[in-house]
Amino acid sequence: MADVNRGDRPLSPHLTVYDQSYTGTLSILHRITGVALTLGSLLVVWWLLAASADDEYFALVDGILTSWFGLAILFVSTLAMAYHTLNGIRHLWWDMGYGYELQQVRRSGQAVLGGSVALTVLFWLFAV
């Protein structure tokens, strides 16, 4: 891919000239949660590998995952996963051509935010 701005030409105004909007924040949050979920995914793979290996190795990884720090990462990961999943469904809905009115975009954003918190709380109350 060609590198942009050869010859140091002026760039058009970018992100910094706009006020950060509510919908824009939700949008970048989708990307942030997606990238952040890398950590939780690696931790689960590590834990599975340890469980498949032997008692000693499992004790080490289990100890890290169930420490307050490990549990904090797992909790934030479930919140990120709930958001990324629900907002992903919102994106699929858009991909099918629905829900583009400003009012609908704001409402679906609120539903995703509320739904993520609700799903996370229910999950930790009943599944964990």
């Binding site: 890398t38 793979v45 599975l48 590998l49 469980a51 499992f58 289990d62 992903g88 964990v128």
Partner: protein
Amino acid sequence: MSYRTDLARVVGLGSAREGVGHWWSQRVTSVALIPLTALALIPLAGAIGEPREVVLETYSGAFDAVVMMLFVAVTFRHLQQGLQVVIEDYVHGTVKRTAALLANTMLCAFFGLSGVFAVARIAFTGG
């Protein structure tokens, strides 16, 4: 020499030369992950923090083992696709970008396959 016209060669392929292939594949993995996440996370949440015997027991069953292997495989494929788009957006320069894309592909394949291997080892040998 090719007898296809220039137009026929380029239609639908765009600047990335792969058309909507990447975009569509990302939607396919995202749709697959909706049921897989629900099916995989319930047993996973029940097993994390439990003694090793409980974890081995959980993934000795065919259904939970297959669901978990699929979940890990599709998750890391989706992760690779997502991180690829992020790299394409933020990493500039042909050398740096190509290096980052290669590293992303290889690391996601490595850790995804490691997860699948771990579940398979538990299912086949009991750990």
